[in-house]
């Protein structure tokens, strides 16, 4: 890793020397831009090295250490489907079903059509005891694309439609020729807009709590002395209904409702 850093520093200095006499006024801006790119590359190189180290720990069977290593990379703010997938694998191998499911779900939000993520998520879900909330069929269908992908699809249809309408204003003779295309784009815009609305509603309004501690006791009220409502096992996925201070109200797959401390769950967006 040190070699890579030195190499990057040398390259940066060389480019700096070249730019300085040539571009005069633009020099400072170029240097700033270059510094940002260089810093980005350095960060990426560091992350890649840390990722490899974590992978080696996993390969050596040190799953808890690997999970910690993946977690540290995630704490830097960067994330990728592979990183979350590996983190989930390490958590699962460490016996943390809930953390594994949460990480698989996060990976799935970034790469919803990744069959490996789906396979491992299903496998881990099968290990979870007790009732759990599962996506409905339409939610699964919506989940084939990320919210951003749905957004881009709807926006693309919207742009195409209005640009087509503008073109028809400029060249009215195109009107009859583009009638079917226009109809299709209108339909596509409406449909993709509706789907986007559903997915956005799912993303912003509904949340899923994944239990990350063994045998979390859901209580009838948001305080420790409240009666036990039900027990949620590690890895159970619950619908979030409400929040009060450090407690969330959840419902399990069988319709039971209770309050859980936030520290016992990991809260994820619904889509």
């Amino acid at each position: 890793m040190k070699t890579q850093i030195h190499s990057s520093e040398r390259e940066f200095a060389q480019i700096k020397r070249k730019l300085e006499p040539t571009y005069g006024g633009c020099y400072r801006f170029s240097i700033l831009l270059l510094a940002l790119v260089w810093a980005g590359n350095l960060f990426a190189a560091d992350v890649a090295a840390d990722f490899s180290t974590a992978n080696r720990l996993y390969a050596d069977g040190k799953f808890s250490d690997a999970a910690n290593a993946y977690g540290k990379i995630l704490q830097t703010g960067g994330q990728s489907p592979a990183l979350l997938f590996n983190d989930a694998n390490a958590e699962f191998k460490s016996g943390n079903l809930g953390k594994a499911i949460a990480a698989y779900r996060r990976a799935g939000l970034l790469a919803p059509r990744d069959s490996e993520i789906r396979a491992n998520l299903d496998f881990v879900r099968n290990q979870v005891q007790g009732p759990t909330v599962r996506e409905s069929r339409w939610q699964e269908w919506l989940g084939q694309l990320t919210l951003n992908q749905w957004t881009l699809m709807a926006a693309g249809a919207f742009w195409l439609l209005f640009l087509l309408l503008a073109a028809r204003q400029i060249r009215p003779t195109l009107g009859p020729k583009l009638k079917s295309v226009t109809t299709m784009l209108v339909t596509l815009t409406i449909l993709s807009g509706a789907v986007l609305g559903l997915q956005a509603e799912n993303h912003f309004s509904s949340q899923i709590a994944v239990v990350i501690s063994a045998g979390a006791t859901a209580r009838s009220g948001p305080f420790d002395e409240a009666q036990s409502a039900f027990t949620a096992h590690d890895g159970a996925e619950l619908s979030v209904l409400d929040r009060h201070d450090d407690w969330i109200q959840v419902a399990d797959g069988s319709g039971k409702i209770g309050w859980l401390p936030v520290k016992q769950v990991e809260i994820l967006p619904g889509a």
């Binding site: 990728s80 997938f85 590996n86 926006a155």
Partner: protein
């Protein structure tokens, strides 16, 4: 006196101790019966009196006899002040064949004492199938029959023989049926199963018997004269008690019956096992015997050199499905082949009927391959004694040159989850980090993105407005002329200034006159050529115009007319006229047309 008393007491205690402890520890071996029939079992008891070994003694290995340890039993007695204790280790003895067996004397070392037992003799008599006369007379409580459907069989051919247990109708119950001998030399036996659905009652002689059939799947593995049986078995039956005492009415309800162990045997069955004929034996015959059909599919059929093609061959029918192998296909020389996987789905309980599926991966080695050659499979049908060859026609393939594409590996991707198979573990981690992204809010929640969506709407609105104005202009000739004249005036003013600067009075006034005509013509909605100075006084529209404007118009027309006669004028005067015209234009344009 005291010494004498003490001596007596000591002697009494010593005598008691000697009596109670048993003077002589003993080890005795005994059989419950000295003579049994083949298929029956005897019980061997090893009894230790006065001592207790820590473990059950070992039994010497005696060919033809099997010993099964049952467990110990112990006894303790106190009779007339005498105590005795013993422990007995019990073994079930099962003979494997008839004959005379000697169980040698055994030795046991118990607490340092060397104990020995006497040798025992066990006579095992051969069991013969009952005679037909005995069977017909109804004398046999139970008997066993074996039937094999063929007396000639080909080596490798599979058939199902049938053992039938006949139980006389007066048997109240039966149990503990055990096949004690299943000699099938030259055959490979399968799992014997009861054919429950084929239980029946038959009349044999003057008695009715219940028949319990058992299927014995057999595959001939050797040629020559083979003998099946005699199969031997034992069964415990419950017969009505012979005690005739008591009231007959109550006896029918409370007769518990008496148990009887019956030894059974079948007559041996001779079978001639024939070798497969060498005549007309196909070259690719691999030993499949039975009657089969074949189907084959291959896919994908549009591939690149080196790509895997899965050839699925299904062989269905009856016969020794286990023994079927996919013959090597010589015509596949242009393909790299991998060992096939097999799956057997049987439709009967013996595995003699069903479908065997082979899945073989092959990959074309060059782009000249245009078909998957015909696939052949040969088998020997014992029913007609002939070899048969099934041929699956060739299948067309499209094989493209590989180019720079690397050869694919046939082995499954380490990260791929096999379909229709329950995974045993999670898929392994990914080696490639992929593109890192920072956490950010979704696009749909980003203001910049939302504002950007106004762009196409604005473009459309702009186009719409432009269209409306264009259409409006197209439908209004006066407006169109007005705009054209406005443009003409604008360019004409430049010309006027240019001519004035160049001191070109003729061109200047000609241009000025034309501009006046165009402007007035547009305002008065008449051709420009029809405009003269007289129009100022005659046209009704101009009558309502401001007097100053009309006066300026007159002056400009007069200047134009005068210029024809007195053309020489200075640049300054021309500029002055141009300025006057320019100043008057707004007044013209404001006139109501």
């Amino acid at each position: 006196m005291l010494d004498r008393f003490c001596r007596i007491v000591i002697l009494v205690f010593a005598a008691g101790f000697l009596i109670t402890s048993g003077w002589a520890a003993s080890f005795t071996a005994s059989l419950d019966r000295d003579s049994i029939a083949l298929g029956e079992q005897a019980t061997l008891s090893l009894k230790f009196d006065g001592v207790q070994p820590q473990d059950a003694p070992g039994i010497p290995n005696i060919p033809g006899l099997q010993f099964q340890y049952v467990g110990p039993s112990s006894s303790f007695s106190f009779i007339n002040g005498q105590t005795s204790s013993s422990i007995t280790y019990n073994y079930i003895v099962s003979p494997q064949h008839d004959g005379e067996f000697v169980i040698p004397g055994m030795r046991a070392d118990v607490n340092g004492q060397q104990l020995a037992s006497s040798p025992l003799k066990l006579i095992v008599s051969k069991v013969n199938a009952p005679s037909a006369a005995a069977v017909n007379a109804g004398d046999e409580v139970a008997f066993l029959k074996f039937e094999f459907p063929k007396n000639k069989i080909y080596a490798g051919e599979a058939e199902v023989g049938q053992l039938e247990l006949y139980l006389r109708d007066d048997i109240q119950n039966f149990g503990n049926f055990q096949l004690t001998g299943t000699p099938t030399d030259g055959f490979s036996p399968g799992k014997i199963a009861e054919l429950q659905s084929q239980r029946r009652r038959v009349q044999v002689g003057n008695r009715v018997y219940t028949v319990i059939p058992l299927a014995v799947p057999l595959t001939a593995v050797r040629t020559g004269s083979l003998v099946l049986g005699p199969f031997t078995a034992s069964v415990v039956v419950v017969l009505p008690s012979q005690n005739d005492g008591g009231d007959p009415f109550f006896r029918q309800f409370f007769n518990q019956g008496q148990q009887k162990q019956v030894t059974l045997a079948t007559d041996p069955v001779s079978v001639e096992s024939l070798p497969l004929p060498e005549k007309n034996k196909p070259a690719n015959f691999t030993g499949a015997i039975g009657n089969f059909t074949m189907t084959a599919t291959a896919g994908p059929t549009n591939v690149t050199v080196g790509d895997p093609i899965t050839v699925r061959v299904q062989i269905s029918g009856s016969g020794s499905l286990d023994a079927i192998t996919l013959p090597p296909q010589d015509a596949w020389r242009d393909f790299k082949t991998y060992p096939p996987t097999t799956k057997l789905n049987t439709s009967d309980q013996f595995g003699f009927q069903g479908t065997k599926t082979f899945e073989q991966i092959i990959s074309p080695q060059n782009a000249d391959v245009y078909e998957l050659p015909a696939l052949t499979f040969s088998f020997f049908n014992p029913e007609d004694g002939q070899y048969h060859t099934l041929t699956q026609p060739s299948m067309p393939l499209v094989v493209k040159a590989a180019g720079a594409t690397p050869m694919p590996t046939i082995a499954a991707n380490k990260n791929s989850a096999p379909e229709n198979q329950t995974p045993q573990d999670i898929l392994p981690i990914k080696d490639n980090l992929g593109k890192l992204a920072t956490k950010s809010s979704p696009l749909v929640a980003q203001p910049v993105f939302l504002v950007a969506q106004a762009v196409p709407v604005l473009a459309f609105v702009a186009a719409f407005v432009w269209r409306r104005r264009t259409d409006s202009l197209a439908n209004n000739p006066r407006l169109r002329r007005q705009r054209a004249v406005t443009a003409l005036i604008a360019s004409g003013m430049d010309d006027l200034k240019k001519y004035a600067a160049a001191n070109q009075p003729d061109e200047f006034f000609a241009t000025l006159f034309r501009l006046l005509q165009e402007q007035l013509g547009e305002r008065l909605d008449c051709p420009a050529s029809a405009i003269t100075e007289n129009v100022i006084d005659e046209h009704p529209v101009l009558r309502g115009a401001p007097a100053a404007t009309l006066q300026t118009l007159r002056e400009l027309f007069q200047l134009c007319n005068q210029a024809r006669y007195a053309p020489v004028r200075g640049t300054g005067e021309l500029n002055s006229v141009a300025a006057q015209f320019e100043k008057t234009i707004p007044g013209f344009q404001e006139m109501k047309a």
